[in-house]
Symmetry: D2
Subunit: 376 residues, 4 copies
């Protein structure tokens, strides 16, 4: 996903591709002063054992078809990046340095990156695979509790996504949590963001089945149709799929997907979200949803949909959109959760609006206000 986003941003900067899939390039949205693609510099942490070049090579194996011509035109723009990619932190609690040391390393990496490129603004984005749900406790509830667990090196309590969010904030950077992992969504870190006047947003980019669900579910309300059951099955074959085959990691994802329906309908129908790993699909996720509903005179009817999308292709432009929108917020002095970005997430931090259309209205209104302030 990161590789796709970087290639896309470079291609956009050079005008080599159309901005299809980018919300921030819609005519009504691009009127706000967003950072241009030319001014985006990428660096990061890689948790897999592959170089950026290898990741580019692997795109084709997962079914992402980037034309060789495009890659060769980007040649120089991409070459330098390897230097800015460091080894990422994973959740193996028995290995490696203490949590304190880890956080210090993260802060150092961010700070060096900022200095090397003389950057005004650095945005930290979590695109790593899903972690199991975090145990709740004083370490999630208050900043003091969090920092105490950190100094006591409680590796089983503080997952990498939280360490990254903490390090980002401590480095003066906004944080975007594109995964269903805890990240900055725990009260302890929301407290820190407020203290330091930093914006942050998440959780879990809404790209496929849940996107459709959040567009479709309101229809049943508008027609007073009673949803009896909503069964959803997702099959996918990328590393995300492999991780989600692990029941613990799946739990975070399914929780993230499940709230949508109840939030929109206002009641809880029988529902299920399955995620299964099908290696041959690569990055192409297929979802089948079956919706059983009741209408007039208690007649039962049904609809089903199949979604066949490429995960990274759907997610990458949203990552770029979020970077630009969070950078805007930071520049404008906005801080804390950014509820106007609920549109982009399965489990928006600081918002309980799941209805896609409602989310769009809130986002549009925010943009309109920004634009009119600019004009006045």
């Amino acid at each position: 996903m990161a590789t796709t986003a970087i290639i896309g941003a470079k291609a956009l900067a050079k005008g080599l591709i159309t901005p299809t899939g980018l919300v921030t390039e819609l005519p009504e949205i691009k009127r706000v002063e967003l950072v241009s693609f030319k001014n985006l510099i990428f660096g990061g942490h890689e948790t897999r054992r592959s170089s950026f070049k290898q990741s580019v090579g692997q795109l084709e194996d997962t079914g992402i078809n980037i034309k060789p011509q495009l890659l060769s035109k980007l040649g120089n723009g991409i070459k330098g990046i390897e230097r800015d990619i460091k080894i990422g932190v994973t959740s193996n609690p028995t290995r490696g340095k203490s949590l304190q040391k880890t956080v210090q390393r993260l802060i150092k990496d961010i700070t060096h990156f900022r200095k090397r490129h003389s950057l005004k603004n650095v945005i930290v984005v979590n695109l790593a695979s899903t972690e199991p749900p975090v145990k709740e406790g004083s370490h999630t509830r208050t900043l003091t509790g969090f920092e105490s667990a950190l100094s006591k090196n409680k590796k089983d309590l503080l997952p990498p996504s939280c360490l990254y969010a903490y390090a980002a904030f401590k480095s003066g950077c906004p944080y975007i949590n594109f995964t269903p992992s805890a990240g900055s969504s725990i009260p302890a870190l929301r407290e820190l963001a407020r203290q330091l006047h930093l914006p942050h947003t998440g959780n879990d980019g809404k790209t496929g089945e849940t996107l459709v669900k959040s567009a479709l579910a309101p229809m049943f309300n508008y027609r007073a149709l009673n949803v009896l059951s909503w069964q959803g099955y997702n099959i996918l074959g990328n590393s995300d799929g492999r991780v989600l085959n692990n029941p613990k990691a799946r739990e975070s994802k399914v929780q993230s997907k499940n709230t949508t329906l109840t939030n929109i309908l206002g009641y809880k129908p029988h529902s299920y979200v399955g995620i299964d790993y099908v290696p041959s699909l690569g990055d192409w996720k297929t979802a089948w949803d079956f919706i059983h509903f009741e209408g007039f005179l208690n007649t039962r009817m049904s609809m089903q949909f199949t979604w066949q999308g490429c995960d990274s292709i759907l997610a990458a432009p949203l990552v770029l959109d979020l970077i630009r929108l969070v950078e805007l917020s930071h520049r404008r002095g906005e801080s804390g959760e950014l509820p106007h970005l609920a549109l982009f997430f399965k489990q928006p931090i600081g918002s309980n609006i799941s209805d896609l259309h409602h989310q769009w209205l809130i986002f549009s209104k925010y943009i309109l206000e920004k634009v009119s302030r600019k004009c006045s």
Copy 2:
């Protein structure tokens, strides 16, 4: 559809069924003072050669499963209705009385019905099968032109749906056009409605594939995804399906369905709406839609949905909703087209909003204003 609506209204009046499928029974909507189901009296014109009792008997053959217990409980409530059902006007231009005579008969039937039951308000609803598109000309453009064609007995220019709308208005009644036929949507009759301060609404109840389409299409805009093709295939087996097997009648329907997409997306993708007659399906319509779209880095993806609904069961409650909402408008002195009812139609008269969510916002706002006016 009419039979289902009447049975449903009678069952609602006696509290025998839940109001599933009725928009006007949603908690936030029912706060306006709508006519109660107990106060609704039904009569009408039947264009087929079957009595009301026979129509009830045929419901099961078309796959509508109304429990015998319910019917026996309604016994008395339904018996009287036969007296109020007259022979309907169809579009055979070579047969029957002159247009003037026909219109006079319609006005007489409406007036007698109103008197017999001492009704405050009579609402005329068109639920007949789809007519071919009407030829445009002075008879559609101005009231003078229309009345001139009427007096010259131009049977090929003025279809039954227009005669019914004209007769309704001349009898002081609001008119609801639930079909894709011309009805009151031609400028000539919109002029008459304005003159006589009567409300009217239409065209073509939005119950199935188009409903889903209008809920789903905005999603592609919100994500800047480019819809390349949207193919829709409808198969159905009721008399509506038989009529739509006729290419001329289908034309009206397809026109009605086609505008939705372009209106919502703001551009015209390759699209197609097929309607085919499959007798074994009876009243159960199945629609399959295939949507081909382009995302980031010009990657092509797709989604498909299958809708399996019972036409009459989906339409009947909307007919009751519209009767109640148009009656409200009439009582409150509103006249002309009722754009706040766009939510209910494939081709709303007086509105070019096709996006279901936008339509809902407009409708909700209208209701809220009515409620606050009531409270203040």
Copy 3:
């Protein structure tokens, strides 16, 4: 399922319904001398707490639409049956009588039933819900082992399906195992059937997703297409669905469904069979299968199917078919497993042919031989 089969048989005996769904009524099959529906007498064991009359009443709740007129015409034919239905044996090992006593009771019930109606031939059919897989051991491998476990009252080793099969054989009756439970398929009981010269057949009636799979999978072989993944998801809401929501019971079912694909393709693609309980569906099972395959020049393609069938309606006629075909075998002196009946099962005992077309060829050939022997 049993209720539906009995009502169907009675209606067939009276000529009230067409024999749609009955293999034994196909013109080419009915030429063998099968027992007529008039000569079938039904009795049985009920494991639920409901009378036959109540079961009939529940059919509608599960979405099986038997016309009230049909039921009233069957009135007398059905009334008597209650007397022949006894309380069934379930798998609660802590309760009830010893295994020996239970088997004696089963034998007594069968014997009385045979005497009361002066029957030539009694066929025992297992239609109870799926049991968890049986533990293998000497009790499954040899008759001596089985009878030793029986006399030692090893309730956790011998599930009801095996006790019923044992009791059937000991009463001189053929046995049909329509479920994925062990039944007569364990070597110990196959030994007993051979000893007593009794025919038996099973396991697990092939009615829906697996039926389609076994018709479709050979196509990929014929075209040298390489199946990469075959994912199947079943959702259903009857008591079978409730039982299969239990992971242990599901194991039996999934095992039964899984062998089909490997047997037909000759290799093992990535595959999965999910079964989920969706109460609102009642007896209507919906299955979605997604097949990912590779063709020429390593191009990946896919197909998907959705099956929407009513479980009891699909299974009931097969139960009647099997009763007639096993009765024929018994009358003709055939014994042991009946591999020509593989056509009817997901996991045929005594056959490793899973390809539906191959199964049909074997069955047709068997019938043809029976017919020609009859003629000569």
Copy 4:
């Protein structure tokens, strides 16, 4: 399709790809002495205005993803081919030379091609777009009639596919008609093939929806399920799709597809085959089939399938298979229609077997006989 077949054959000859999709490379089939891919030489007629190199370039635009590495490895093997590709004959009756001259040119081209490469055997294959159905008359019924129309230059009676078949036979070559056009299937040309002892086969390669249909339909027979309706909708975007958007050409295709169902079921359910042009799909054909059927107790159930395949990728290996199998027949002295090849066609010449499994049995038996004759 031709381009894909040639690239595939060249890649197979060099061992660069696995033989997925090739029936003649199945272990049980390849035991007969088929011509090796190394010994296949390609030439042909191109009816479009594009060179072979351009056609290769266009593959990607239509969604066929052949790796650049593969193409570069084939470099030399492909270069020479341009010389052997001449301008093809299309059906514009007002333009060009007389029919006699055209046939003479075709014969000359075939003869030169044979000589230039010193070939033992030349097989002519028709892969051109679908022609409208041919008018029946003495020109289709007898060879004399055909040759009379030829000499009288009746351009509206004799379509290109028939001219090619005629020229092939007159040049001593077998003919394969992979399209639904008339080709060698008219009695006049079947007469010629018999006279000259030449084998020929067709019509219309069975690659997608009809393939699935012919695998699935027998299942309904085996279970005595009554098919009420079978609706099929095909959408595709290649030049074949563009041609089939023309109602006249579509007629041939739909006729070809329609016989399958009635042949297999033994009765004619309500059925429909739609073909629509959706440019964005390129060579990727998507088909949706909806099957409505009746089971026990007159209960109606349904299944649907979606097929998403790449037309050329599915067809190209069959073209290679047919070339090898027809070459085998020719070498072995077989002539006339080749009913054992029905497996490959929607409308097999000389066979009324449409059931895929039955076709496979016939084909397997033929191969087995060939193999045993070889061994003995």
